[in-house]
Amino acid sequence: MTANDMSPDVVAGVVDRVVARWRGDPTCMVQILREVQEACDWISPEAIDRLQTALGVPRTKIEGVAGFYSFFYLRPRGQYRILFSDNVSDRMLGSQALLERLCHNLWIEPGKVSEDGLVSVDRTSCTGMCDQGPGLLVNNLAITRLDAGRIDEIAERVRNRVPLAEWPAEWFRVEDNIRQPGILLGHDMQPGDALRAALALGDDGPAALIEAIKKANLRGRGGAGFTTGLKWLACRNAPLKPGQGRVIVCNADEGEPGTFKDRVLLTSYADLVFEGMTLAAYAVGARRGFLYLRGEYRYLLEPLTAVLERRRRDKLLGAGILGLPGFNFDIEIHLGAGAYVCGEESALIESLEGKRGTPRNRPPFPVTNGYLDQPTVVNNVETFASAALIALKGADWYAAIGTRQSAGSKILSVAGDCARPGLYEYPFGVSVRQVLADCGATNTQAVQISGPSGVCVGPEEFDRVIGFEDIPTAGAFTIFDDSRDMFEVARNYVHFFQHESCGFCTPCRVGTSLLKNLMDKLHNGCGSPYDFAEIEKLNLLLQSMSHCGLGHTACNPVLDTIKKFRPAYEKRLVQKDFTPAFDLDRALAAARQMTGRDDAAAHLVKATSGEDA
């Protein structure tokens, strides 16, 4: 009997309550599954039975969706589900040893559930706490600044079954760490100011607002850099079928490892973001808005819901916004559930519709055929915040900041080997060198900009600048000093992409696994020049044949580090000729574990060179 057992009646009660809260709407499947799991600790067959009747959808649909997201469990994972953030920055801060310590304390193996069904400990992709890591999630709530002492205290509370609500609040404190504010992080806008400025333009307001966004040369902050004004205009001009409306979606699925600026914007600048969304709704004529918040930021749900509630009271949301008849718009928050690919806009929309987060075939694009086939604007958190400032202070003011091709400011999430990790906001055009000096980085060997899907720059490139004309970025700025092994950095990123591949297309589904196996082979000392050539070949195949940006960019960390840190790879090519990845001694690990032996006689003498193997 596991600790997760609930009687079928109780489960049915939970399911009915949750389904009613979400209007019995199967497009809210991801939210429904999340709330069922929050109450029941997992999604049991009994829960699926009930969901099937309550929602009127086949079981295959429910299991298909639940099986896609890392944070949904179709098998019991314990009352305490602990996930260590496995970003490279967490590892650099010692997360591996802390994970082992916790497992040792709790007498469990990573990835498995304790025999009494109480607790499980595993790894998860970057949780966005890189400036205050190592981090973990317990039942999807973030704990920061882990150290050995905190790990021991966590183990004690788990063993004593102390409810999470009674764990010290200090553990769950998340700092903003704003080191250098700019126009966004230092703004003085009062809620409603930007909306009032836009409405003051009168009947031509929507068109004038889009014109201003275009003139300000605002480009998307999620990485791709599409011109925001053109996107809004395309959505506004897209034809509507009967019964359809336009939709505004804020992409807060900040999953790129090393990025955490949207977390701070939504913690302390939520009004700016919601104001930007409301302005977009005014510009394109949308009535419905969504904030798609990554599941790792679950703790922000209640504060953000309160901000929305206040804005409704203040007539900044809802029917007749600021007294303007017909200006009706509201925002609903949907949480992700541990799927990086949902940061891709069409996968995000699939997830919002309660489906598996698989990127769609494009064209058509979301501006014409988005949420439930309606014209949809999807913008990044920072893009909406910037749009609000433009509405308030004018296009000319904004366009004068930054560079000619990259107007405005960019918030960088700085982490890794530096004295002062946190948020730094600069006008576009700042050099890598300047950022390194400001955050107190020394002996820097490399900076990974915009996360694993971005670029890795070495010291000879530190005069390059942040901007669409040189290094575009979604915000991550992860620093590695000369003590770090860049091959291991790339290997961590390859593992990340393999874990996050949605599995839809052959090249990415199989290719990221093959790539992971080859990088592990090099790590294990079985690498030869043959494997190196294979790695390069696979990367090129991923780049050309994959379905979406994840596959296209999954090769970036490897191709970049090969180009710039080739010795780190060559050091790994210890075999002259092809050597199989299979290692008999390693294959016997399971036997050693079963017999509880790890003495010398339980190991084979390991071959030392290709000739001996």
Partner: protein
């Protein structure tokens, strides 16, 4: 049909709304594919049908033809990339052609021959996948599943039953059936369903019908896949 585009130097006529693959097939030009089936909405997941349109890679089963576009398909480079994809599908599952009941009728095998695949090249994953022999008439052998979702689409869109779906993610993506027990016998599946007949490989095997046609006398034994018109 006055509009045309160019495919490997040949002029291909097309009607409004036709994809590159549809137009090419209608004109008698073969483009390798596995997840595409003329009776179902294109899926675009296997990527075998990838071509270069004006120099850019794209799946020809989902890309609509436009007048004057220049498409490359049967080139050394693209066929080499397709061959790698087929090799990936071979090592991802457990495909043992010599002992397989579908040998000679299998599109994966036939496509591998057509593309000149001489070995699986990559290390095998040898996944552990269970059989489902619960149904009295049909055996499901998941070892051969290539996740094309044709049975999913057939069951949903033609049979109206939703017997099949994909669950899991990434390399752990797997085919599931619509039963709490996870067994085909506990679903409303029937061997007469459209879903039972669309598998391009050998997941669906009729019981007590093994090797009714000897190996060597089957569909693709007689003629290579690129010489056979698409079944409608």
């Amino acid at each position: 049909m006055s509009q045309t585009f160019t495919l490997d130097g040949q002029s291909i006529p097309f009607a409004d709304g036709q994809t590159i693959l549809q137009a090419a097939t209608a004109a008698g030009v073969f483009i390798p594919h596995l997840c595409y089936h003329p009776e179902f909405k294109p899926h675009g997941s296997c990527k075998l049908c990838t071509v270069k349109v004006n120099g850019r890679h794209t799946a020809s089963c989902t890309m609509r033809a436009t007048p004057g576009m220049t498409v490359e398909s049967n080139t050394e480079d693209i066929n080499a990339e397709r061959r790698s994809l087929v090799q990936m599908l071979f090592v991802e599952g457990n495909h043992f052609c010599p002992a397989c009941e579908q040998s000679g009728n299998c599109k994966l095998q036939a496509t591998a021959y057509q593309l000149g695949m001489m070995s699986p090249h990559f290390d095998h994953f040898f996944p552990s996948r269970a059989l489902d022999a619960s149904h009295p008439e049909v055996l499901l052998d998941f070892n051969r599943c290539i996740l094309c979702s044709l049975c999913v689409r057939a069951s949903r869109d033609v049979d109206g039953k939703n017997v099949f779906a994909l669950s899991g993610r990434g390399i752990k993506t797997r085919l599931i059936v619509n039963a709490g027990s996870g067994r085909l016998a506990d679903t409303n599946f029937s061997p007469a369903d459209k879903a039972a007949g669309v598998c391009p490989v050998g997941v669906f095997l009729k019981k007590r019908r093994g090797f009714a046609v000897p190996i060597g006398e089957r569909r693709y034994d007689k003629a290579p896949i690129d010489s056979i018109a698409e079944e409608i």
